[in-house]
Symmetry: C2
Subunit: 474 residues, 2 copies
């Protein structure tokens, strides 16, 4: 596979499409778009040009141009991804959706919002909150991420136990296909079997099957009551053991978030925040919501009782929205805090059946001891989705770290596979996990994915180098 | 496209795979498998052989054999489909999953059940009900349909307003691909972005992308309280107008079912049942559920008040489970009752944004008058999914009926498209709506579907003649 390059002629063609000032080729700006939020410099790669379209027609014209010249395209939202999905590994044209951030339609009768893909998720959240509505599938990076990126990664969030992830709320999307056609998939419909569910195929395909330019998001009425518990445990095992036990009670919390000591401490230091945490080796942050305050209260009491009966050191009820927001800020900022405190690391995203999460903790402890690294862990315990983070010991030399990290990940991924789990629950395969996917995936499944990719993108220009290799296989 | 035929040699090969008694070629039995529940003899077509595998390996071996000889395969569950999806239009081999009905695993810790595709949905429901659990995505044909068919059609049901349709509850499935490979897609996972969401692509693909042989179904704890209202209105318009108004209140009923007078009367006669219905031109059947009886009661009262304020003639609360079941039986049996009372008809399945359903009723009235037919209507009003049924006037000659039906459907479908709707919400395109899909679908979307079909099924043997034509296009 050899790709064309962005020549001066191509730059002129791009400028003819989007205008002089919306094509950047200066090195400093290109360097800014060489990264996403994935740690590790090894993944960085600058594009040859950054293009900032403002309409779907711009995007389609750029894609047709790229097909003509066989130039790779990398779509990019906020660059808040954690698997290198927005890194232009083959150079070429990076299409940033950041200027396509307009509200198209807020439809209160159908409880939907239609927005361009570059709208920041928090802006969407604020727009609909004024009407007592919310987008239940938003991810932890809500302050910076964009709707298009949420869709490309099928992002999860802190409310997924009860509400599910992004994909459940995407009712329709406008796609620029890898050959530059424009098509709306889905609509403001509660159900639809008029042909294949291509919309759902695009969701989570990490920008390899086209560029989402607009989306219709289903909104949910804000629950009238919500309450949060912060529960302290002596050890991660004690905290995690309780999670499947809690779900078996028939109570469905909005979310059950887990943080081990190193995780919450690192985030607290980063935020200059304190949480009650004496003797705590781990915490669960549990939210319950509903329309009936008495029912929410009753659920919360039942959960609190269960925790106290099964090894909790302390159960705190977050007294007001300010206290709740402070605890959630600690949880949301762990990834960022670790990036600052331990820049040489690998943030993982394993997901297992929720009844199996207690098995994961001792394995992480074993792997940490075997490979001479710390592996703090936090994440969406109620979804079986844990962000174990491999952290390099400063005393370890770089070559050993890279070797050990690789061996440790392979062991971890095989262990997860043995539990019926997968290597990514919400961050995606992207660039970072591409080489590991075949280790833990039936080759038939990868061949089926490749077949779709080749059928939709015959020139293989759409976000190449992500998810799976294309040179091998049919 | 020319297909191979089922020669004596092929029959011998099939018998070598599944055993002598599991391959049927006698005419009487073949005739039984020439139909599904779609009315209209015009669709009937017998297979050349019916094969009844009992294992996934059987299914895979049959598919490999069919590929070798280029023989078309039609997968079939209970044959309860309403779009001709299980009719073997090109003859060939019909694979009936009816003997693959085993329970594989009931996992109470993860709240999942794994079953073979041929398990009757009601059998699954009864198995899990003993544990206080239910499969929230079951369709109206629950008494006869099978899990595999539910998945092939992404079936809807009476609880979709609150709980969504089948696809939301399918966590994993075992697929025999069109080339005879076996692969598990998904798993007991709350979230998963480890590659494309092929599982969701297969759901609703009407057996054209492979044969589902097993599935993992997510279970939900049975709500502790549920209550039903039967609300009578003077006219269909009065009933339907209330539906978007109700949803805007922020109450989420389990389901909002609509029946016009001809629909409930026909079903009552068929069942020899009576419902309170004096002067009623239409009814809404509204269910609310939850864990808190007081909250359910409060929601029901609020809905009842709203109905009375906006034109309801009468609001009945179904007093006990027996009364509730009687009303639901009337609703569930409308399709069957119409088939008996008016065998020459076309049962439709349009879906529109829920705020637009009031616009549908006057259009149906206009079309009925224009084309000289009755168009009774019922369905899942809370999902925007209405089963308008075109019924032939006995006085109309057959040729006029066929011409008028075709013209009426084209007008209806264009009207639905204009509202942002689709021509099938839960029954599928199948054979019956295939010729209409291109009328109301962006050709780019159909080309994307075709590209997947060709990439996965190079010999085009898997349920050919359904959803879209393959001779045209790329």
């Amino acid at each position: 596979m050899t790709y064309g390059t962005v020549t001066a002629g191509v730059v002129a063609e791009l400028r003819a499409i989007v205008g002089e000032k919306s094509v950047w080729i200066d090195e400093e700006r290109l360097e800014t778009y060489a990264h996403d939020e994935t740690s590790a410099e090894e993944y960085a790669h600058a594009p040859e040009a950054v293009v900032l379209p403002t309409t779907t027609e711009h995007v389609a014209a750029i894609v047709r141009l790229a097909n003509h010249h066989h130039i790779p395209i990398t779509p990019r939202g906020a660059g808040s991804g954690l698997s290198g999905g927005a890194i232009p590994v083959f150079g070429g044209i990076l299409i940033s959706l950041e200027r396509m951030d307009k509200l198209i339609d807020l439809d209160l009768d159908n409880m939907t919002i239609t927005a361009e893909a570059g709208m920041v998720t928090n802006d969407l959240a604020h727009t609909v909150a004024e009407h007592g509505l919310f987008f239940a599938g938003y991810p932890m990076s809500v302050e910076t991420c964009q709707i298009g990126g949420n869709i490309a990664e099928n992002a999860g969030g802190g409310k997924a136990v009860k509400y599910g992830v992004t994909g459940r709320y995407v009712m329709g999307l406008e796609l620029v296909t890898p050959t530059g056609d424009v098509v709306w998939l889905g609509g403001k419909l509660a159900k639809d079997v008029s042909g294949y569910d291509l919309k759902q195929l695009v969701i989570g395909s990490e920008g390899t099957l086209g560029i989402v330019t607009q989306a219709i998001i289903k909104l949910t009425a804000y629950p009238k009551a919500a309450s949060d518990l912060l529960v302290l445990f002596e050890s991660p095992r004690a905290a995690i053991d309780l999670v499947p036990r809690m779900l078996r009670q028939g109570i469905v919390p909005t979310g059950i978030e887990f943080m081990d000591r190193l995780s919450f401490q690192t985030s607290c230091e980063y935020l200059n925040e304190t949480l009650p945490s004496e003797n705590a080796g781990a915490m669960l942050l549990i939210e319950v919501d509903g329309n009936d305050p008495a029912a929410v209260e009753a659920d919360l009491l039942a959960i609190g009782d269960l925790c106290e009966k099964h090894g909790a050191i302390e159960v705190y009820v977050a007294e007001d929205r300010n206290a709740v927001e402070r605890v959630w800020a600690v949880r949301r900022n762990i990834a960022e805090a670790f990036k600052v405190a331990s820049p040489v690391q690998s943030l993982e995203d394993i997901v297992v059946p929720v009844a199996s999460i207690p098995d994961v903790i001792p394995e992480l402890e074993r792997l940490a001891a075997t490979y001479g690294m710390q592996i703090p862990c936090y994440g969406h315990a109620g979804d079986g989705n844990l962000h174990a983070t491999l952290v390099k010991d400063p005393a370890m030399d770089d070559a050993t770290w890279l070797r050990n990290k690789d061996a440790c990940l392979r062991e971890l991924y095989h262990f997860v596979q043995g539990l019926g789990g997968k290597i990514s629950g919400e961050h995606g395969i992207g660039l970072k996990r591409k080489k590991y996917l075949p280790d833990v995936t039936n080759p038939v499944e990868i061949d089926l994915m490749r077949a779709i990719k080749r059928a939709w993108d015959p020139n293989l220009i759409m976000n190449p180098g992500k998810v799976f290799e294309l040179d091998a296989g049919p």
